[in-house]
């Protein structure tokens, strides 16, 4: 079939809400954009295990420890589905991991911030997972079918994580003075980086327009960010805490919250590798991979030997 015809069929499917399956023809740029986005999402899940993993051994009760372990395990699972979804586009997991380790592929910058207190486990659940959900609910309707299916499954677990995070903060907010201070401090540190999770403002976003046309994305960065602010500005009242933004104000006209200017210099700095933990996170992943090389080799060698034995028998 000629290219023009294939493109027409593809666009017809997009326009008519027919999902694109791995074997369908798709423009190279669509394939590449999906690989970039899905692998970035997978890497975010895996790198995202590190800041929370920092508190497993110090969790303050056995119940909280169990919940945290299960949560991080879920994130590893999300990483797996997402790597598999990206593999349907013709890239291997090894290639994606190499791209992460070489710095070619990105992951969400939020995980380059440190987890300094137990309250950060709450703030990550409530704000970081909260922001992720806003984005991921949209992605359940993304046009590439394996990604969309993965998102449906992931969203269910993420909303559970967000409730758990809120619950951690809620208990702290009702606790001792020190716990309340810990709670407010974590909110102060995580609020602005969470807003940055939605990416650059629409006029600066290189990928938004094409992604919207292909229905990979269905809402712009700024629309999603506003949705998040409106949700959190209400929930923070339940905690009796405040968001660190003097310009945050309900706007009757727009029926949403106005909020202050985001520090985009900080955003770009972290993206470029200068966040507080960029080097540490990447080094931790590289080290795990390198230290595990002999284990993976041994597993392969054993599997090969078993196969030969079975053949001989």
């Amino acid at each position: 079939m000629e290219l023009k015809k294939l493109e027409e069929i593809f666009q017809y499917k997009i326009d008519n809400e027919i999902k694109i399956e791995p074997k369908d023809w798709m423009p190279e740029a669509y394939r590449k954009t999906n690989i970039r986005q899905i692998s970035q999402h997978a890497h975010s899940e895996v790198v995202g295990m590190l800041p929370e993993g920092n508190w497993i051994t110090r969790a303050p009760s056995l119940k909280r420890k169990a919940i945290l372990l299960a949560k991080i395990q879920d994130e590893a699972g999300h990483g797996l589905y997402l790597y598999s979804a990206a593999e349907t586009l013709g890239i291997s997991r090894d290639e994606m991991i190499d791209q992460l380790h070489s710095g070619k592929a990105k992951y969400s910058s939020i995980f380059n911030y440190p987890t300094l207190t137990w309250a950060d486990m709450g703030a990550i659940g409530w704000l970081v997972d909260g922001a992720a959900i806003v984005n991921q609910v949209m992605l359940t309707r993304t046009s590439y079918a394996p990604y969309s299916r993965g998102m449906v499954r992931i969203c269910k677990e993420e909303s559970f994580h967000q409730r758990q995070g809120f619950d951690i903060l809620y208990v702290l907010s009702k606790g001792t003075k020190e716990q309340q201070a810990m709670c407010q401090d974590a909110i102060n540190r995580w609020w602005w980086p969470s807003l940055m999770m939605f990416g650059p403002t629409d006029s600066e976003s290189a990928n938004t327009e094409q992604s919207m046309k292909w229905k990979i994305k269905r809402k712009t960065n700024d629309e999603l960010r506003q949705q998040f602010v409106d949700m959190i500005a209400e929930q923070v009242k339940v905690l009796g805490m405040t968001l660190p933004d003097p310009d945050l104000k309900w706007n009757e006209k727009t029926s949403s919250y106005d909020f202050g200017a985001i520090n985009w210099d900080e955003f770009w700095n972290v993206v470029k590798g200068n966040g507080p933990c960029n080097k540490q996170r990447l080094n931790a992943r590289r080290k795990a991979h390198e230290n595990g090389a002999w284990v993976r080799e041994a597993a392969l060698a054993h599997a090969r030997k078993q196969k030969e034995k079975n053949k001989a028998a």
Binding site: M49, L50, I56, R58, P60, R296, H302
Partner: protein, 252 residues
């Protein structure tokens, strides 16, 4: 509750703490791998085992707390006891070192727990029997998972075989303690000789398949069961108990 005429309350509490502490400390060691394992699937598997062990520890602590009374809870037992009050096997607190040490330590302890729970399922104390019956399903998987890894590494490459052999040589000094019963353990009337025999058979079979040589060691470090630990436990507890110690009486 079934009659406990043969076991004093104190012995039973100590015994419950011994199993709970062993499960918790091993869970702690495993959880140190979370996010750092050789491959994502195995990160998930080992975290899963850490979670299972944590669940078993909590069940035993909760029952111990009930017997102790005085507002004891699973958390007061885990977070507010000192090193010398912990009764876990020394084997459980040994550092992760590498994947070989980790899977071998797991295999040794899981195999022991499997044959132990087999007996405890029949225990006259219904609560102990119920916890054992629930846990044995999980432990059966842990034995299989860790045993397969011991075989894989023993048989895999020259390097993995050497690393496995190093782990064997180091950890064998800690396996004997498993079968030397503390006073409170003797009171529980467990047939330790049978557990030891089955454990040795299972370990020998797996190591044989893994092409590793296993020499039983007549010497063994002991003391964990009665609160005399290696230098490692202090660090584990310092980390684990940090928040509870820093903010006494806070709710989390």
């Amino acid at each position: 509750m079934a009659s406990t005429t043969t076991v004093s309350k104190e012995d039973k509490i100590n015994y419950l703490l011994y199993i709970a502490d062993t499960a918790l400390i091993l869970s702690h060691r495993n959880s140190e791998w979370c996010g750092h394992a050789p491959v994502l699937e195995q990160d998930i598997a080992l975290t899963n085992i850490a979670l299972d062990l944590l669940g078993q520890a909590r069940n035993f602590y909760q029952y111990a707390a009930e017997l102790i009374g005085n507002n004891a809870t699973e958390d007061s037992l885990a977070y507010l006891r000192l090193e010398h009050e912990y009764k876990n096997l020394l084997l459980a607190e040994q550092p992760n070192e590498d994947w070989a040490y980790t899977v071998l330590r797991q295999f040794y302890i899981s195999t022991f727990l499997f044959y132990l729970y087999q007996q405890l399922q029949q225990n006259e104390d219904e609560q102990v029997a119920a916890i054992a019956a629930k846990s044995i399903k999980e432990v059966a998987y842990h034995v299989r998972w860790s045993g397969e890894w011991v075989i894989r590494l023993g048989d895999g490459t020259k390097e993995s075989n050497q690393r496995m052999q190093q782990a064997l040589d180091f950890l064998k000094d800690y396996t004997g303690e498993v079968f030397i019963a503390a006073n409170y353990e003797q009171a529980m009337q467990i047939d330790m000789a049978t557990i030891q025999k089955k454990w040795e058979e299972k370990v020998a079979a797996v190591l044989n398949e893994a092409m590793l040589s296993f020499s039983t060691n007549n010497f063994s470090h002991t003391g964990g069961k009665t609160g005399k630990h290696t230098e490692h436990l202090g660090y584990i507890l310092t980390e684990m108990q940090y928040l509870q110690r820093t903010y006494p009486n806070a709710t989390w």
